[in-house]
Amino acid sequence: MYGPGYGPPMYGPPPKPPVHFSHGVHRLHLATAVINAVGVVVIAFVLGGYSLLLTQTPDGVALALTPAVIARFLVVMLPVTAVAAAIGFWIWWSLKFWISGDDLVVETGILRRRNRRIPLAHMQAVDVVRPLTSRVFGLAEVRVELAGGDQAETKFRFLGRPMAEQLRAELLARAAGLPGHTPEAPERPYWRVGFGTLLGSQLMRLPVIGALMLLVALLAFGVVFKELGVLAAALPVLLGLARGVIAPLVMHTNFTAALSPDGLRLRYGLMETRMQTVPPGRVQAVRVVEPLLWRGNGWARIDVTVAGYVGDRQALSSVLLPVAPRDVAMRMVGLVFPGTNAEAVPLLPAPRSWLAPFRKGEAGTDDRLFVTRRGRVCRRLDVIAHARAQSVRLTAGPFQRLLGLGTVHIDAPPGPVQVAAEDRELGEARAIVESAAGRAHRARATDIRTERWAR
C-alpha cells in the first residue's frame, strides 16, 4: 500500500487544463467532421452506390464481387468519400464560437460568413443532450435556447463531453454575471425517481388500463375464434400503448432533480440522456396533475411551461417531475416560484350550475400567485405567478351569459399549461380580472430578476 501523500499513481495522459471559452476561438469536436462525412457516404451508398455492386445476370440481379465490379464501385465511391470528407472537414473548420463580453458569438457559413451574437442575458435554457449514438463516442450536444421562434435555438453538435459540460457551466456563470472561470455552481440532490415508481405511474392511468384491457380482449377474441383480422385492430392499440407508456418511460428513466443556485438541474433519459437547467425565473406556469389512480399512492406529476422551448422541444421538456409524492411536488412548485406557497392560497369554488353540475373548478389568488384547481377524475392544480402573466382575459359565451358566468384566463406564453378560472359569476369574474391586472402590475414592479438570469 502507498502511504498518504503519494497520491494515486498517474497512468495515462495528465488531465487537460480547463478550457476558457472567453479566450481564443473554439471549434466543435473533430469527430463531428468524421460523423458528417460518414453520414454523406452512407446516403450516397443507399441512393446509388449499392447498385454498382450488383450485376445484371440472366437469372436476375446478383451480387458478384468480381474485380471489375469492385473497381467500378471504388471509382465512383472513392471520390464521393473524398468530397464528403473535405466538406465535413470544411464545415467543421468554418464553425467557430467564443464568448466575447456578455455575448456568445457563433460564426458559421461555408461560402457566406454568418456571425451570430447571442446576448447571454436573453438565454432561456442551456441543455446538454447526449443521443445514444454520440454517447458511444463520448460526445455531447449543447443546446442554447432563446425566447421566441423555432429558429431561436443554437446547437453545438458535437462537443467532447467534458468540453460540453464546461461550456454549459461557463454560459450559466456568465449569464448570472459571474466571471467565466467560476467553478460550476454546486448542487444538492433533491429527488430521484426510481424505475419501479416510474413504471407504476405510467401503467396506473385509466387510458392505459383501458387500452391494455382492450388489447387483451382483442387477442383473446383472436385466439378463441382463430380470427387473424383482430391483429389489424390490435396493432394501433399496441402502437398507442408504445407511444403513451414506453416513450415516456424510456425518456424519463433515471430522472433526477437537483437544486443549484442557477436553477433546477434535471437529468434523465435512457437512450438519449439530457441535462437540463431550468432557472426559476424562466418558468411561466406550472400544473400539478393527480390522475385518479395515483391518488391512492399520493403521487403527482408536474408539467411546466418554459419560455423558449417551442414546438417539439416544448413537448420534450414540459415535464418538471414525472412522478413524486404530492408534498415533494408542491415543494418543487415553491422552488420554481420562490417565496410562495401555492397550497396556502385560499381557493373559492365556482358556482355550480346545470351547465356544469360536476365540474367544480376552484380559483384563488394571493399577491404572488394565481391558482386554479379543477377536474374530478384527474385533478389539476394550475399555478401562475402574477409577475409572469402576459395578459388577462375575460370571455363569456352565449350559454355562459345566460347563466351569468364568465371565464377568466391568465395568459402565459404557449405551452402545456394554460391557466383559466372557469365559470365564475360574471361580476366576480370582472373583479378577478381587475385584481389580477393590478397584482400583476405590482408584482412586475418588484420583480427585477428577469434582467439577469438566476441572480
Binding site: 429527488w191 422552488l335 373559492l348 402576459q390 351569468g404 373583479a431 381587475e434 428577469t450
Partner: protein, 205 residues
C-alpha cells in the same frame, strides 16, 4: 419501490413554507386591491369600461367592411350553388338556395352592426383594455410592459375604406388583442403611442 427508499430529501430542503413572510390570505376580490368593480357587481356590468372611462369606439366603417365581406363571399356561393342545384333539382332548388343565401346575408348584415357596436378599447395608465364579441364576449387586459410589438395591417378592403387594424403581440399567443376598423391615421397614431408606452414600461418575459 417502497416509499422513501432511494428518494433522499436533504435535511436542509426547504419545507412547505420555505422563506419569506407567510402569504397573506386575500380572496380573489380581496379588499387589498383597488378593484374598480365592487364585489358582487352585477353581471351586466362585467364588460363595462373601467371606472370613470368610456370605451373608445371604432369607426362605423367596420360595419360596412364586414357587410361588403359578406357580400363578396355570398356572390360566388350564390352563383355556384344556384347553378349546381338548378341543374340537379330544377328551378325550385336554385330558388331555395337563393333564399337561403339571402337569409344568411341578412343575418350577416345584422351581425356586422352588432359586432361593430361591441368593439371598444380604453387606455389606462398601465394597461390597454379591449372588448369585443357579440356571441362570445371578450375583454382583454394587456399591460403595456408586456407588449412585444404592435403592428398595423390593412387588407385590400380595409385600404379601400381607409381603415386599419392595430394588433398587439405579447409572448402569449392567446392574448389576441386587436382593434379593427380604426381610421388609418388614428391607427398609426395609436400604434406609435402604444409602442412608446410599451418601451417605457418594458420588462422581459
Amino acid at each position: 419501490m417502497p416509499p422513501g427508499s432511494p428518494n433522499i430529501l436533504p435535511p436542509g430542503a426547504p419545507g412547505t413554507r420555505p422563506y419569506g413572510p407567510p402569504p397573506p390570505p386575500p380572496a380573489p376580490n380581496g379588499p387589498s386591491t383597488p378593484s374598480v368593480v365592487p364585489i358582487g357587481a352585477r353581471a351586466e356590468q362585467a364588460f363595462d369600461p373601467p371606472g370613470g372611462m368610456a370605451w373608445v369606439r371604432v369607426s362605423p366603417k367596420l360595419t360596412w367592411q364586414r357587410r361588403i365581406a359578406v357580400l363578396l363571399w355570398a356572390l360566388p356561393v350564390t352563383i355556384i350553388g344556384a347553378f349546381v342545384l338548378s341543374r340537379t333539382r330544377g328551378l325550385a332548388g336554385g330558388l331555395i338556395w337563393l333564399a337561403l343565401v339571402l337569409v344568411a346575408c341578412a343575418v350577416g348584415w345584422i351581425v356586422a352592426e352588432l359586432s361593430y357596436r361591441s368593439w371598444g378599447f380604453a387606455e389606462r395608465a398601465d394597461d390597454l383594455l379591449v372588448t369585443h364579441g357579440f356571441f362570445v364576449r371578450h375583454l382583454v387586459v394587456v399591460p403595456y410592459g408586456r407588449m412585444q410589438y404592435v403592428d398595423v395591417t390593412a387588407g385590400l378592403l380595409e385600404q379601400w375604406l381607409g381603415v386599419a387594424t392595430v394588433r398587439l403581440h405579447t409572448a402569449a399567443a392567446a392574448t389576441d388583442a386587436r382593434i379593427p376598423g380604426l381610421p388609418a391615421r388614428d391607427a398609426a397614431i395609436l400604434r406609435d403611442r402604444l409602442a412608446q408606452k410599451g418601451e417605457a414600461r418594458s420588462i422581459g418575459l
